[in-house]
Symmetry: C2
Subunit: 418 residues, 2 copies
Amino acid sequence: MSRPRVVIAGAGFAGLTCARALKRAPVDVLLVDRNNYHLFTPLLYQVASALLDPGEIARPVRQLIRPLHNADFLLANVTGADLEQRRLLTDHGPLSYDYLVLATGSRSDYFGKASLAHHAFGLKELDEGLAVRNRVLQRFEESRWTTDREERRSLLTFVVVGGGPTGVEMAGALSELISLVLRKDYRDLDLELVRVILLEAAGMLLGTFEAPLREAARRSLEKKGVEVLFNARVEDVTAGSLRLADGHEIFASTVIWTAGVRASDIGSTLGLAVGRQARVEVMPTLQAPGHPEVFVIGDLAGAVDGDTPLPMFIPVAMQEGRKVAATIRDLLRNYGATNFRFKDPGIMATIGRNSAVAQLGPVRLTGFLGWMMWLVVHLVNVISFRSRIIVLINWAWDYVFYDRPIRLIVRAGDAKND
Amino acid sequence: MSRPRVVIAGAGFAGLTCARALKRAPVDVLLVDRNNYHLFTPLLYQVASALLDPGEIARPVRQLIRPLHNADFLLANVTGADLEQRRLLTDHGPLSYDYLVLATGSRSDYFGKASLAHHAFGLKELDEGLAVRNRVLQRFEESRWTTDREERRSLLTFVVVGGGPTGVEMAGALSELISLVLRKDYRDLDLELVRVILLEAAGMLLGTFEAPLREAARRSLEKKGVEVLFNARVEDVTAGSLRLADGHEIFASTVIWTAGVRASDIGSTLGLAVGRQARVEVMPTLQAPGHPEVFVIGDLAGAVDGDTPLPMFIPVAMQEGRKVAATIRDLLRNYGATNFRFKDPGIMATIGRNSAVAQLGPVRLTGFLGWMMWLVVHLVNVISFRSRIIVLINWAWDYVFYDRPIRLIVRAGDAKND
């Protein structure tokens, strides 16, 4: 008799952790993803700010599952599922399963504003990180060709929308890229004309952090030259400007959008009930209602801990992945599924060189100590030993020489037509 | 009185070397290139075979010219020149010069065959290297979705056209990527179905090398599993197959073209006389006929040494760049221009792990010794200290663990529409 087949859609933190936790289970695991790599998203902003190469934050899925002798991988776009026939549907064909784990994550949400979707850069995917890097460097080069001060100012104004960790980290890194690195590339650069603006719709940055840490983050960003605007809602974006809901206009030709995220569409495609941010309303066991053989985890899942919905955080995704692996083993032994409980390891965000905020259990760190903690945690978590060395070299190089070697404008991989 | 302005079109080996050699000259130097980086082309095939990241073989031009206090850079496409008015024309506007150095290099030449240009990958530019990497990995992934043996064979057949150093190095690296690395990624891979074919129109590989080295290279390639076909001229390419002039058909869905190179179009655009491979027929002083203030160097220049035309080699480009810098200094002191003489440092090509051929003055090396020499020469010449460390780590990693960490399918930097 062949072993039960677990199909996992999505090789992000949730799906990959689940596959790994099934290593010794008597099942065959099949991971499916539209990319052939697992992306270490917490460092994506460092690709976008020309500090790291893609190879340092992305690892081939096949590499990662090599130690798992019961796991295989297929590259495909998941398009839906036939829950009755137990088949996952993809653009390459259907895949039968005994257990299905949906972990297709989330994507940028532009709240239906076409101009935003058209002009603003998301920062969720590797190609988006590279696109931001290309754009920033391109704008600096273009600014050398104009003598018009206002045009130059617009070319050199970079707006980051969203005061969560991604927005804060991106704005800090961008400001440092400019003031520490690019300034040396452009000898005649008038820093008066360069602006990095962080827009936040609410009245505070890093809403999930406690007030003193939020305040420390704001001060640190402003010290690095980032203009932080609160209560600023984006109404409309054009190629050269951005209009806020209060009518205020900012002349900027680069907008990076980190203010909205929604779960991937698979939930509604399957007719599952979805809640806020299109997240699938799962049972406390992470099973889909009515389908005990279907699990939903990671950003896609709207799991709750008591009454509070769990945030779209990596620790949530990884713990859910492990939990589902344990539940599948239990089900195979005819035990019942038990409820998921989230253990909060704390949160941290970096504002750049020598500055981060961390809220870990009873510990609160800011400034240099927070930054050291951030470095250690991220270095330990970068997935392979080799990447760890190279990331460390790049960080040390940047720290000591104020230099980011990867400031390349590369448009890659335009496939041949066939 | 302002200093004479030297405009250099092209930041490859010829143009960059020229700019560097003008460091202490009483001139202002302006480098113009369509990319913001200088590409270390000898290692491009290692990007294409998933061993190195782009950041390891490309360096920002602005970084490289930072030590040159009389040099600046502009990003633009060179579209022509007004030799009478002494202006270089670009897509961003004209640039006046007192001396012009044309060093816009060469590109793939498909000899007017539309099907080749359409389906085959060149291997001259960074984005082409990334495109080849994406394609090879994509084909392996696609092969998992078919059970048809012939379709799988076509997906897994990779044809490299051209038996010069680039073709030999690419074929060797590709074969090793498959047999040493990808084989571990695809447990059920039937190596019978995987083919790497090197096509050469003439009767020998590496025509510029002596016969024993050519023979050593061929044996080494075949030992690595590359099928070498001589007297094979490509007639036509479709999405799934390739037809030779003798009617023979090869079912292959990836064709890498290294068999034809021609100089960039600027020569004929300017109405200068061009010879073989569209190279500009320069005076022995590297000046354009009739325009003593215009120099042509690198692949673009059809310089001769005695009667023999100089090949499109990096040492030629660098020596020409240095020569023209010296000539410009001489002209500024009212000395005349003298003839360029090429000093041949020798040639080398690598066939992969533990194998290379080198022909350096009286020295002939093959096998492991040739390979050690190749390693040292290329490591010393990778431009920055940091790249050198990282390239060394990557090479050592691959050598020890048979692992290439950068096998990522990344389509990067699709610019937003605006």
